[in-house]
């Protein structure tokens, strides 16, 4: 319904490609489909010929029958009519099937390229674009782009039909044809005007629908509060108000959409009457046969339907092109992390050196300046500091998720830029603040880093985290489905799975961004036990949020604004009474045993 209204929800996007570039890019994807597209074009021409030929043939036949009613003539006429109708159908069917394969392949190819481009990006790319937008470029924009093709084919075939029909009509009677053509601007203008009105009402409808959703969402989420306080009537009153406005606005939108076809019908009705009358006069004068007169009457109706869709073509075409541009822009973006070599390491001991490293996420905010740090193989290093002090950046540079601007980072004496990234990263084990799990079982997730690990290996990795006690609390053990992003598991359980995942990888360097969210004390104890196992014999770099981790570290690095201002162990640093002491009082005091023991005295008097 209402193809005139298609594609109204488009946004304006900047054009980045010249037309010539765009055409070249599009042509690149269609070249493999050239044969198919050629066939499609042929089918369009044949179909248009059959489709316009049918009424022309019928009207001619009506004239012929008046002179010759031999059985042969009648059978021939019927056979040709059926043949034209069937051929039209066959051509159309072939065209659509082939076009579906061609478009399907182009979209597939485009999606594959877009995906490959996306995974090649470094993490700075993912920081600047929300995942939803990237996803829609890869899946929806590619689909929208394919519309360009479908639309172009439709337009091609409709214009062809109109041209064929009009030229035939011209050859029959020029004056009447001009009458038919005079109708065109009215139809086009009406269709465009409707688009404009519809655009407004649709926007309002969308807004009120969002309001209705928001209202219901809020009241249903908070219904227990509303019930506790007996506020149902007040809420119901608000609902009635929103619901009524929604009714009114949606009704108006519905009215607009329902008027377009009757109004176009009125226009074509007036046109029909003009043709019937004017054509009738011409026919009476003998300048037109009855059959041709009938053709004009029918032709008018064949004419206005394609016109309305041609009227809405251009804006839809632009929407499709813009979608194509977004996809190409995604494919063409340059990754910032560039490797200079592809050295593979057979073994990694885990010594890391930062030599005068400069790093910033964007021009204005330097994060690390002339930063130097030596980490010995097997050392456990805790990084502490306020937000923005650069502690996460250090970990991210080691993983080579981001490019740094100056200095060098050496791993076992190798420049990190000269390494084969896949080979190097296989030696790293990373657990992030909110550990990410993939939809699937716990077993799948533990195995994620080593797809060919056996079930026994997975089990023993799981067992070595906190003695495997946590497995008993999963409803189906290792076969428990973790749900989308691990939502079936608690945050603590997700951490345990992530630890097991890292253990199976057996990394040389372990990087942990500790979670700030609290987990239940029993799980917390299990996680700590798990960490002990992972950190043993490995270079460990911990962005520490827990007092117990800091206390166990070989060395604590105290960071402020990208500089190391203190280092040492917990007792030494606390005794210095400097920045570390301040950090301790701000973030860690409440995690201490003293605090737990004193809390009764501190708060019960209040």
């Amino acid at each position: 319904m209402g193809f005139i209204m298609d594609g109204l929800d488009a946004e304006e996007y900047d054009r980045q490609y010249t037309d010539r570039d765009l055409v070249r890019r599009i042509a690149h994807y269609f070249r493999p489909q050239a044969k198919r597209m050629g066939l499609v074009a042929l089918m369009i021409v044949l179909n248009s010929l059959a489709y316009t030929g049918l009424p022309i043939y019928i009207s001619n036949s009506i004239d012929r029958v008046q002179e010759n009613t031999s059985t042969n003539t009648l059978l021939t006429i019927a056979a040709v009519t059926i043949l034209l109708g069937s051929l039209g159908w066959v051509f159309n069917a072939v065209r659509r099937s082939i076009a579906a394969s061609a478009v399907g392949n182009v979209v597939l190819h485009l999606r594959e390229d877009a995906f490959d481009a996306v995974v090649k990006r470094d993490l700075s790319f993912y920081d600047s674009y929300p995942s939803g937008k990237i996803v829609s470029r890869v899946t929806s924009d590619t689909q929208a782009f394919s519309q360009v093709v479908t639309l172009t084919m439709e337009l091609f075939s409709e214009i062809l039909m109109v041209v064929l029909l009009v030229s035939y009509l011209m050859s029959v009677n020029i004056r009447l044809t001009l009458y038919v053509l005079a109708l065109a601007p009215f139809i086009v203008v009406t269709a465009l005007a409707f688009r404009k009105i519809a655009r407004q009402t649709v926007t309002q409808s969308r807004r009120i629908n969002a309001e209705v959703s928001a209202h219901i969402q809020e009241t249903v989420s908070g219904i227990s509060v509303a019930k506790t306080f007996r506020q149902e009537h007040a809420i119901y009153g608000e609902f009635l108000d929103v619901n009524k406005r929604s009714y009114q606005i949606n009704l108006r939108t519905g009215f607009v959409f329902n008027s377009i076809f009757p109004i176009l019908g009125i226009l074509s009705g007036i046109g029909t009457v003009v043709i019937v009358y004017a054509g009738g006069l011409t026919a009476k004068d003998g300048a037109l046969s009855a059959g041709d007169w009938f053709l004009f009457v029918q032709g008018l109706q064949m004419f206005w339907f394609p016109l309305t869709s041609i009227a809405s073509f251009w804006s839809q075409f632009q929407i499709g092109l813009a979608a194509g541009e977004r996809v190409f822009a995604l494919i063409d973006a340059e990754p910032k992390v560039v490797q200079t070599g592809h050295d593979e390491l057979a073994q990694l001991y885990g010594a890391i050196t930062f030599e005068n490293v400069d790093f910033r996420y964007n021009e204005d905010e330097p994060v690390l300046k002339d930063f130097s740090l030596d980490i010995k193989a097997g050392e456990t290093l805790a990084l502490v500091g306020h937000t923005g002090s650069g502690k996460s950046s250090i970990a991210r540079l080691i993983t080579r998720f981001y490019e740094f601007q100056g200095g060098r980072i050496l791993v076992d004496e190798h420049d990190v830029r000269s390494l084969n990234l896949a080979n190097y990263r296989a030696f790293l084990g990373i657990v992030t603040q909110t550990p990410f799990l993939f939809d699937g079982t716990v077993r799948d997730n533990i195995r994620y880093g080593c797809q060919d690990a056996s079930d026994e290996d997975v089990l023993s990795a799981a067992r070595s985290v906190a003695g495997g006690d946590w497995l008993d609390n999963l409803p189906n053990g290792l076969d428990t489905e973790v749900g989308e992003r691990g939502s079936n598991l608690s945050m603590g359980q997700r951490q345990l799975v992530a630890l097991a995942r890292v253990l199976l990888q057996d990394p040389s360097i372990f990087i942990l961004d500790e979670a700030t969210a609290s987990v239940d004390p029993l799980t917390e104890a299990l996680i700590q036990e798990g960490l002990d196992t992972v950190m043993k014999y490995r270079t460990s770099i911990v962005i520490a949020h827990r007092l117990s981790t800091i206390k166990n570290a070989n060395r604590i690095i105290v960071l402020r604004e990208g500089e190391i201002i203190e280092q040492g162990n917990h007792e030494e640093l606390l005794a210095q009474n400097g920045h570390y002491a301040e950090l301790y009082n701000t973030y860690f005091r409440h995690q201490s045993l003293e605090y737990i023991e004193e809390s009764q005295r501190l708060f019960s008097a209040a």
């Binding site: 034209l84 159908w89 993490l123 009125i266 009938f294 605090y595």
Partner: protein, 614 residues
């Protein structure tokens, strides 16, 4: 403050037949029967006049072939104009009537659903996912709307669009009905077959698109892990497989649609009708103008052939939507109000006696098994256990969100099932993990349900909950609207707003799911202070991650797999429970020697312990 009854009724509400989806939809339509009857009448006028078009064209052809005078053609032209205008306007009015009907029914159905939602008990709402209800109140009612307009309209237009031209053809020459009639039968069979084959493919295509999207979304959200684990090629393979499958369904759907048989049948029918007409013309029983009229009428058939594909699926979707709405509307509350039950002020003694609980319907594995313990009025109990050990479920048995499967829960010695539900719940306050705040001002949120509470009382409650200071720090203070202009409250702040509410409503039993975490020590101090104050003078059940609260609770209940494995004070548990000792093993505590290693296994002995302490 009192808990609402689970009935919420609106006076003079229209009542619909809720027996099944079809009857329900019909009863909604029946409410606006005149709109419906009007729409059908207009549609009849539309098609009768629209089909008059070809008849008048035939008359004009007659006039051209056998002229009768100068004015005759003008006359026919004017009649034709009148006929076509009547048709267009009838089409317009009919559509607007159906549209009004559809929009009204959408609004009515949503209202009906909403009223029933307000009437449902807390038990119902606790079990129902918000997203699910949202889908019914928005998408499903929209589906109902589309089913009526254009779905229902398409149906009667198809019927009339086919019947009326045939009637006219019959009037022109009855025999000419032969071919169109055969066509109609074949058409019906072809459409049925088409819909049956297309629907599953479309369904699969939609699902596959969802999979493609979800898979990609997952890869991108987890990109750090993908890269760190060097699994780019694995993800690529997965994506390509999904994208390829989608392509296959897309092509398959395209091919099915390309072979939409009814159009071929129509073309053949057109040829045979023409032949039939010509044969009759040779016999002299039909004239040329009549052939023109019949061929014009055959043209009218093209439209219903085109639209009928949509009407079937629209109606199917509408009925499915109605089913889902009705499912919610008809869902019954299992807990009875027990309006005449025990009505007293609660002292706050809570006793669990051999309580076992399993959710209905699921595999019947008990979530809680044989739980027994006793809390004296005014005591604070900390419940400790891993996720899934049954902590929340245990507290939900106290306010009868759920009823026990076997055993008893007693408050002040009376089984909760014997209490008047309203009286019981009004004296028990639960502060959940995710505190819900309405998008209103903070003052309104604190005094929710008691709009007349003086500002001083609101502020007093906020002070007690340690919320006053951070509220004052907002530019608009107590008038700050939640969720506006970037004002987002942290979990700890939300919790303290909820505690302010509790200070105002003064419940006798407070259940607190305290899993919020403070990032800095100053906030931790404030949260501690607020909760300590809330505990005073009321029985408190704490599900908490805070060791300092567990440490100093009057009773600590350790749950594991739905069983009480230990219960007692901190000191006692350090001596007897290996589970509990594990928590403190990380701290440099001088753990006392484990006294009876097997004490933990014997839940019943452990459970009796609190009584000794109390």
């Amino acid at each position: 403050m009192s808990v609402a009854k689970s009935e919420f009724t609106v006076q003079n509400a229209y009542s619909y037949n809720q027996k099944d989806a079809r009857r329900w939809i019909l009863s909604h339509i029946w409410r606006y029967k005149w709109f419906f009857i009007g729409a059908v009448l207009f549609s009849m006028i539309d098609f009768f006049s629209y089909s008059q078009g070809p008849v008048q064209v035939g008359r004009a052809a007659d006039e051209i072939l056998n002229p009768t005078g100068d004015t005759a053609l003008i006359h026919i032209g004017l009649v034709l104009l009148a006929v076509l205008m009547t048709s267009s306007f009838a089409f317009l009015f009919g559509s607007l009537l159906v549209e009004t009907l559809a929009q009204r029914i959408e609004a009515d159905a949503r209202q009906e659903l909403y009223i029933s939602l307000l009437g449902k008990s807390q038990t119902f709402h606790n079990r129902q996912r918000v997203g699910d209800i949202m889908a019914r109140a928005t998408d499903d009612v929209k589906q109902l709307n589309f089913m009526l307009s254009p779905g229902l309209r398409f149906i009667y237009e198809t019927v009339m669009g086919m019947a009326v031209p045939l009637i006219y053809i019959a009037f022109i020459k009855f025999e000419l009905l032969l071919v169109p009639a055969i066509f109609l039968v074949c058409y019906g069979i072809a459409v049925r077959r088409y819909v049956r084959r297309l629907n599953p493919v479309m369904q699969s295509q939609r699902e596959q698109f969802g999979k493609l999207n979800a898979g990609l979304e997952e890869t991108i959200s987890g990109i750090e892990i993908v890269k760190a684990s060097v699994q780019e090629s694995y993800e690529r393979t997965r994506f390509r497989r999904n994208a390829r499958l989608f392509r296959d369904y897309f092509v398959k759907q395209g091919q099915l649609e390309a072979r939409y048989l009814p159009f071929l049948l129509y073309g053949i029918a057109l040829g045979f009708t023409f032949l039939h007409a010509m044969v009759l013309y040779r016999n002299g029983s039909v004239t040329i103008p009549q052939i023109i009229a019949v061929m014009g009428l055959m043209n009218v058939l093209r439209f219903p052939v085109f639209i009928s594909i949509f009407s079937f699926s629209l109606v199917q979707l509408g009925i499915a939507g109605a089913d889902r709405i009705l499912h919610i509307v008809k869902a019954e509350t299992e807990l009875d109000e027990n309006a005449g039950g025990h009505r007293h002020d609660i002292q706050g003694n809570v006793t669990f006696e051999n309580v076992t609980f399993a959710y209905e319907g699921k595999d019947n594995t008990p979530v809680l098994e044989n739980i027994s313990f006793h809390i004296e009025a005014g005591q604070t109990v900390a419940i400790v256990g891993q996720t899934g050990s049954g902590k929340s479920t245990l507290t939900q048995l106290i306010n009868r969100t759920y009823d026990v499967s076997t055993g008893r829960v007693l408050i002040d010695g009376v089984d909760v099932r014997e209490w008047d539900l309203t009286k019981l719940r009004s004296q028990i306050s639960t502060i959940e993990q995710d505190v819900f705040l309405f998008s209103r001002t903070l003052a309104e949120n604190i005094a929710f349900g008691a709009p007349d509470t003086p500002q001083e009382q609101i502020e007093q409650a906020a002070r007690e909950a340690q919320a006053h200071d951070f509220i004052q720090s907002f530019a608009d203070g107590y008038e700050t609207k939640v969720g506006e202009r970037g004002v987002t409250l942290s979990g700890g702040q939300r919790q303290r707003i909820a505690l302010s509410r509790a200070f105002l409503s003064d419940p006798r039993i407070l259940i607190l799911d305290d899993s919020t975490s403070a990032i800095d020590s100053a906030t931790e101090d404030e949260i501690q202070q607020a909760i300590r104050r809330a505990q005073q003078g009321r029985t408190t059940l704490l599900i908490t991650h805070r060791l300092s609260q567990i440490r100093w609770a009057d009773v600590i209940v350790v749950l594991d797999h739905g069983r009480v494995v230990a219960a007692g004070t901190h000191d006692a548990l350090l001596r007897t429970s290996p589970h509990y000792r594990r928590i403190f093993a990380r701290y440099d505590v001088d753990l006392p020697p484990l006294e009876t290693p097997d004490a933990e296994v014997n839940a019943e002995t452990a459970a009796r312990e609190p009584e000794v302490i109390a």
